[in-house]
Amino acid sequence: MNDIDNARVRAAAGEPPVLNVRGISKSFDKLQVLSDVSLTVGRGETVCIVGPSGSGKSTLLRCINWLEPPDAGAIFLSGRRVGRRAGGDVAMSDSELAQIRTRIGMVFQHFALWPHLTVLQNVMEAPLHVQKRPKAEVREFAEMLLEKVGLGDKRHAFPARLSGGQKQRVGIARALAVRPDLLLFDEPTSALDPELVGEVILVMRQLARDGMTMVVVTHEMGFARDAATRMVFLDHGRIIETGTPAQFFSAPATDRARQFLQRYATSTAAVADV
Amino acid sequence: MHLSVLDYLSLLQGAVSTVSLSLSGIALGVPLGLLLALVRWSRVPLLSPAVAGYVRIMRATPAVTLALLIFFALPNIGFEIDPVPTAILALTLNTAAFNCEIWRAALLDFPRDQLEASASFGMGARLRFRRIVLPQIARTCLPALVNEMSLLIKASPAVAVVGIVDITRAAVRIGAQTYRPLPPLLVALVLYGIIVAAFVFAQRSVERRRMAAATS
């Protein structure tokens, strides 16, 4: 059975989806960036959000962990409401929000590693000082994760000494270290030189295969086609189309999706070999 | 405010002292700093390391100690000197050292290709400096130079140790005479605030005029 069917079975069994986004709207000043966006993500799914620049993809991602509070709508992580207390009227306190956030791992476009800490310390920082796990356990897990992303030997280096691809892999290890229910990727390869993109995509593919629940905002159509369980096409703040990668790439249902894909035709072909 | 007219006059006199001494120090110290920076930049043998040493020691020396050194020590080795020249000399020597570093930083950062272009057009060093280098570094150094000017004004009360009655000393004296030390000190505070603000305002209007000229 594929992952979508798995998700349906779980939903039928009464397990809440990992992520439930309901009717999110957000505007900055007078500009409406998101309009009534809804989305559910089941366990083990890899959802790729694509769309033209300015379509609101990053904003949507940042609403999920309340880095941008939406103007309207609700977000639920494994059944627990994000950003507001149960009724929806009262905003969450900082510590309640932190508790939810620590169940979501985020990978940033510009890596956002903490420069005063070594690679290993970066990965250990949140589990130690937010989740308050015991140091030995955190260290062991962190070292294992760094091995997994292929950077075991760079444990004691400072981020400034790493290449972009290495930094992003550390970023992924850092996000995994908190043992999240959900991983968010905000254009993880957009800031990388082309030859460094592959090493990051490799790690992300492996994560998808391992059953990690991922929401990925990306321009890397090759990755989307091979690793996504579902595609979401966003344009001008609305979800225009969703579907399996097979459906989306070979037979897009809407004109706008078709136009978008045409623009990416060449890059899709080029990246297909990754 | 418990201050008589005479007291206010005394404070104003102090203000005149402060402003004139500070302006003298600035008028002498800014060009002197430039001269020293040029000596270091062109790496004149013997002079250049001497200037470097002078700058290092002067940056570590308090204005008070320097004023005392000049006033008491110069007569010791044969030069008689009055309080006012002492004050001007102390303030100048001090600020010149800091200005030297400010100018030098701008000179070191000056784009090499412009220098080469000038040379390729046959410009002599002096002409190049006057028409190409100086106008540009004057612009970039202005904020730092003005900052140093306000530091000089804040160091100027040091001249009290050689007997000059500046704003601060006038205020203390009035307080000692009237047994009410606070009011004159507060007036002194306001006076200094006005003087420093005047400098900052002057800098901002120079910058604004430059911006207007650049964009017109």
């Binding site: 962990n65 880095l67 900082d94 932190a98 508790q99 956030r101 620590t102 985020m106 940033f108 956002a112 590693l113 903490w114 420069p115 005063h116 920082e125 949140a126 000082h129 937010v130 989740q131 400072f158 981020p159 400034a160 850092r174 908190v178 | 290092r56 940056r59 570590a60 020396t61 308090p62 204005a63 008070v64 100690t65 005392l68 050194l69 008491f72 020590a73 010791n76 080795i77 306000s150 804040k154 160091a155 009360p157 040091a158 009290a160 140790v161 704003i167 601060t168 205020a171 203390v172 307080g175 009410r180 030390p181 606070l182 000190l185 507060l186 002194a188 505070l189 605030g193 420093v196 603000a197």
Partner: protein
């Protein structure tokens, strides 16, 4: 002239006493000013408008004010409100409070230079409040601020010389005392200037040491 320097050397205890007092005053007020300045920075950048405005006016006032005048305000002015300090106490307090403003401004500049992404990552991983400040914001800020703190330290040492005017027995005061007693002005003040320079060298060496730590992370 050599004779003069010999006399100064014979009274080196007094000079060294002055040096130690300068060092002690400067170090204490620098440490206190840094700690208070860090607190003041949070007030400066606070979102509560009145708090930020109050902090801002304190910093701006101190930056317009000569240190000696502020020392006089503390020493001669406060007794009008019933608060009386010895010249030592007034000196230390004035030096500390005055430089608190400068430290706050310098830390604020270093803070503003931080990449907002780092802080956002901190939020995303569940850091907030004091935790965020201590572990994510403060370390890079301090590393960036160290050269400026070094300069401020030198400024503190120089400002301490003003306290000789209110008879605090620091280096300049002791040098002045020796020269007045034994008529050796050149030797005494040259010795004092050299000792100030040595202090400055020590500060610069310390800054360079920390600067290396910063370089590894740059």
């Amino acid at each position: 002239m050599i004779k003069d320097f010999v006399i100064v050397w014979e009274h080196r205890d007094q000079m060294l006493n002055g040096l130690m007092n300068t060092l002690w005053l400067s170090l204490c007020s620098a440490v206190l000013a840094f700690a208070l300045g860090a607190l003041l920075t949070t007030a400066l950048t606070s979102r509560a408008r009145p708090v930020a405005a109050l902090a801002r006016s304190f910093v701006d006032t101190m930056r317009c004010l000569p240190f000696l005048l502020f020392a006089y305000l503390v020493y001669y002015g406060l007794p009008s409100f019933g608060i009386r300090f010895s010249n030592w106490g007034a000196g230390l307090i004035a030096l500390t409070l005055y430089n608190t403003a400068y430290m706050a401004e310098l830390l604020r500049a270093a803070w503003a230079g931080l990449s907002p992404e780092l802080i956002e990552a901190g939020h995303a991983f569940g850091f907030f409040g004091l935790n965020l400040f201590r572990r994510i914001v403060l370390p890079p800020v301090i590393l960036a601020a160290v050269p400026m703190i070094g300069n401020q330290m030198i400024q503190i040492i120089k400002d301490s010389a003003f306290l000789s005017i209110i008879a605090v027995p620091e280096l300049t005061h002791e040098a002045s005392s020796i020269q007045a007693t034994y008529f050796v002005p050149f030797a005494a003040f040259v010795a004092a200037v050299l000792l100030y320079w040595v202090l400055c060298l020590i500060v610069e060496a310390a800054v360079a040491g920390v600067g290396q730590m910063a370089e590894a992370r740059r």
